[in-house]
């Protein structure tokens, strides 16, 4: 995940500059109401990582017009 930080920043800045992301409202909140497995897994953290990945793919798609969020 950390390896692509710089790439992500490049993509975000170039996409925002192009106004591509201007309409997106990103909401990463996903309220935790219980923790399963006796706390073995923090699903809120997992969800945050997934949300980050989704945003990353949006930026990539905005850049290259290539979506794999829901692709057939």
């Amino acid at each position: 995940m950390a390896d692509r930080t710089s790439d992500r920043r490049t993509f975000v800045s170039s996409s925002v500059a192009a106004g591509i992301l201007g309409t997106f409202v990103i909401d990463s909140s996903y309220p935790l109401i219980a923790r399963a497995d006796g706390g073995a897994v923090d699903y809120t953290a997992v969800a945050a990582d997934i949300a980050d990945l989704v945003r990353w793919r949006i930026v990539v798609m905005s850049r290259v017009m290539f979506s794999h969020v829901c692709t057939v």
Binding site: M1, T23, F24, V25, I26, D27, S28, Y30, P31, L32, I33, A34, R35, A36, D37, A40, V41, Y43, A45, V46, A47, D49, I50, A51, L53, V54, R55, R57, I58, M61, S62, F66, S67, H68, V69, C70, T71, V72
Partner: protein
């Protein structure tokens, strides 16, 4: 990621009680190589590996793949989808269900009427979904696009393929869809060619029972969000039991 979650879950057969999201079998070549799953191995399945390796054995693939779908929907502007944890991964590829349990975008068998809705009812009925739920779930086509390199179809369903909303339904009911003239598989396009629909999408407006819900969701986005959330949550739990509610 929405597709990964859906295809991981949509193998469920309510009669035999096999398939579904419970075993994480989509990670096996025996399953991701199914025709309907084309492209998943190089995209969503691969992307999930970073997260899986970060959390280790405590996080099952089955939980991860389904949670990814719920989170993607929410992150892209959709409703919160109730999700529970506790799926335990199978270690045996023999648990992979036979190919052919997921919908075919061309409505199934060769020579079939491409807008025949019976294929959708057969496939989704096997999972336990009714007409209203089938239409609601189809609204996920607000997101993403088809690729000639995966399914052979080409193009997005809506002009905003990274936003989850009811545009799929408003476009289904307001655009004049005509067959695309090309060498690829049978699909429909808008007059300017910028957006597309699959035969199974057009089937939803050709069939009166389905069309009732298409119109309702086109008029009322909040209703669509509510119904989609319930149907998608049901989808993600197919083939499981005893899940611990985590998000509601």
């Amino acid at each position: 990621m929405v597709r990964l979650a859906w295809h991981s879950s949509g193998t469920y057969d309510k009669m035999s009680k096999t398939g579904g999201s419970g075993l994480g079998t989509m990670r096996f070549k025996e399953e991701f190589s199914h025709g309907a799953n084309a492209g998943l191995a190089d995209t969503a399945i691969k992307w999930m590996e970073d997260i899986k390796s970060k959390y280790g054995d405590g996080l099952s693939y089955a939980d991860l793949y389904t949670l990814a779908g719920a989170v993607a929907i929410k992150t892209l502007g959709g409703p919160q989808v109730a999700w529970g944890s506790g799926r335990k991964d199978s270690m045996d590829p023999a648990d992979v269900t036979p190919d052919g349990r997921l919908p075919a975008a061309d409505s199934g068998s060769a020579g079939a009427d491409p807008t025949d809705a019976s294929h959708l009812r057969t496939i989704f009925g096997r999972m336990g979904f009714n007409d209203q739920e089938i239409v609601a779930l189809s609204g996920a086509h607000a997101l993403g696009r088809c690729h000639t390199t995966a399914s052979g179809y080409d193009g997005p369903w809506t002009p905003t393929p990274t936003l989850f909303n009811n545009a799929y339904f408003t476009l289904l009911t307001s655009v004049e869809w005509t067959p695309k003239k090309w060498e690829g598989p049978y699909q429909y396009e808008a007059a300017n060619g910028s957006i597309m629909m699959l035969p199974t999408d057009i089937a939803l407006v050709k069939d009166k029972k389905f069309a009732k819900y298409v119109k309702a969701y086109a008029k009322d986005e909040a209703l669509f969000m509510k119904d989609f959330s319930a149907a998608f949550s049901k989808l993600l739990s197919l083939g499981t039991s005893g899940l611990t509610p985590v998000y509601a």
